[in-house]
Symmetry: C2
Subunit: 348 residues, 2 copies
């Protein structure tokens, strides 16, 4: 499905480990004042002065988290950075550095790694994070990417998952569900391609959904937006496993309940069309589909006026007493207990 635009194949073994590292890391820039020493020693050296340091890490495995049949390597590199940067954003912190480790089987030529690292480099520039270290090795099967993201924040800025109060409003950025439907479209096209490799897919009706799957963005802007509105969320999490699952995390850690309103869910018109085409209930996907990388947070009720009508944010519910449980209030005004059916990497 992905056309091989570059038929050249240079074996990575030719360069050796250190030659390969030099080659792959030569485009990385150091822009953060907190980076004293990046790649090139036993470890990187950072200086955060009086800021707190935020650290998160993710492991991405071919065949589990991504499928190279429809995921171009450049997009994969970009997305791998985004996924990790998103976790830093979810703490209301500013991403500053990442380390990038990869393991590849020998079926990957140097040109493929160049594509992957072009995506990583592009994301590092876009999010202004310095690539300060990593590891490059061989794998027995497929491609493995491990990224650790580092960020900084003043102590009073940091938002945890456990600060939601009973009367808080539940807010989400952007729209949800599109990344999951993008994946369904790509999976369907993969099946078509396997049956008929000459078919040319017409993906015009699905561009937004596919972009949300293949090139998601982390909401680095939300920290600035909220700061300008003089709002500090009481709790925050990013939506990687699905809205439902993330609401459960906030509720469990904050010891509160929640009412989520079906008619408030922010979904894109293209998403609705494609759910109808696939004959899937759009609400089910919107609350269970993962990989949106939007931010979900709670704010005090008195902040309502500050956020009302802001196109970046949608109020989708409110928190309640823990004993009231966690519910979806449907359009028909019935309450359904919410279940976490989020994406679970271990049962794939």
């Amino acid at each position: 499905m992905i056309e091989d635009k570059n038929p050249q194949r240079t074996s990575i073994a030719q360069l050796g480990e250190f030659g390969l590292i030099d080659h792959l890391t030569k485009n990385f820039e150091i822009n953060q004042p907190s980076t004293l020493k990046g790649i090139g020693d036993d470890a990187a050296v950072l200086d955060f002065k009086d800021k707190k340091v935020i650290v998160s890490t993710d492991l991405l495995i071919e065949g589990v988290h991504f499928d190279l049949a429809y995921m171009p390597l450049k997009h994969l590199g970009y997305k791998a950075v985004v996924v990790n940067v998103s976790d830093i954003c979810a703490m209301n912190a500013k991403p500053t550095q990442i380390t990038v480790s990869i393991a590849v089987s020998n079926r990957f030529p140097l040109e493929a790694l160049d594509e992957l690292f072009a995506g990583i480099t592009h994301a590092a520039r876009e999010y202004n994070v310095d690539v300060i270290g990593g590891d490059t090795t061989s794998s027995q099967k497929g491609l493995i990417i491990s990224i650790t993201a580092i960020g900084e924040a003043d102590e009073e800025e940091i938002v945890y998952r456990n600060g939601a109060k009973q009367t808080d409003l539940l807010v989400v950025t952007g729209d949800i569900g599109a990344a999951y439907m993008g994946l369904q479209v790509l999976e369907r096209e993969k099946q078509v391609f396997q049956v008929n490799p000459n078919s040319q897919p017409d993906l015009d009706a699905y561009t937004y959904l596919i972009e949300r799957q293949l090139k998601p963005e982390a909401r680095k802007d939300v920290r600035t937006l909220l700061h300008a509105l003089e709002i500090k969320p009481t709790s925050m999490i990013d939506i990687s496993d699905g809205l439902s699952s993330e609401i459960m995390h906030l509720c469990k850690q904050s010891k509160v309940g929640c009412n989520l309103y079906e008619d408030k869910l922010p979904i894109d018109p293209q998403f609705i069309n494609v759910c109808e085409e696939f004959n899937i209930d759009s609400t089910t996907v919107a609350i269970n589909g993962g990989e949106d990388y939007e931010l979900l947070f709670t704010i005090a009720m008195e902040d309502f006026e500050k956020i009302k009508g802001n196109p970046n944010f949608t109020i989708i519910g409110h928190m309640t007493q823990e004993s009231e449980g966690i519910h979806l209030v449907t359009r028909a005004n019935t309450k359904i207990a919410l279940k976490a059916r989020g994406w679970d990497a271990l049962t794939q």
Copy 2:
């Protein structure tokens, strides 16, 4: 070869991702004052005040970096931490936190992961590092471990690879080559076992070598030892890829040459015996065998008296002008140009 002492097999899919994470991380303790928030949010939060932050990361792949035929999972967990902590020690910094990500295929029962995490927990206690985050997912094949180690140091304490001067002395901690020969012994026993699974190996003559391979230690003590001697190395690196390869790194980055003396190399009597048994030249193994996790550093000549005769350190050579090159001076007093033949994960 490794006896299955625990025939119970609990499928990890039964617990689900979050259940598994809760189970595996329940024994992790937070002891470092710099850890404000460990596992349980989108990211960890650390506070290093006026210290600099040191970051290093490593990826360990089954079949490339370790062989579960002779590597017990508990030892593997321990070693995975040690390998990363060693990089922090090589900056003359104090290790403080680690993140641990793992990917496992479904052939691993929960009991196997418990063994792995018992080793990780043991090492975390031994080196006093807090496990502050990670990721747990499934792999298509085998076990993958990705660890990021974090440490702290005052700016003036940090030792880079590039500070060696022309007249500096070259010093190594402990002894070298043993881990490599331990691996040879284990590989031989694996072959024997494959031919005759009932054979009982007698490994008494190899205990030190095998321990160096299966349970190496990071030289966390060297920072304190050098501090007490009032010595600050001019450059430092840890020996993961082999002495020869690491000397090349120091020389290249410091723009100096080096004379390494064969008769000064610190090697263990058991190592010499086993090299003879395997009919391998002990000097070749001592300078090219990897995974010793000792520290290699340079000190100013005027520090000679402070370090002379100290059982923790061996002066094995001295730096020279860059134009003189990098040589091994043999017992027969001939100079041989040193080649980096270190362990290269990409050509395995």
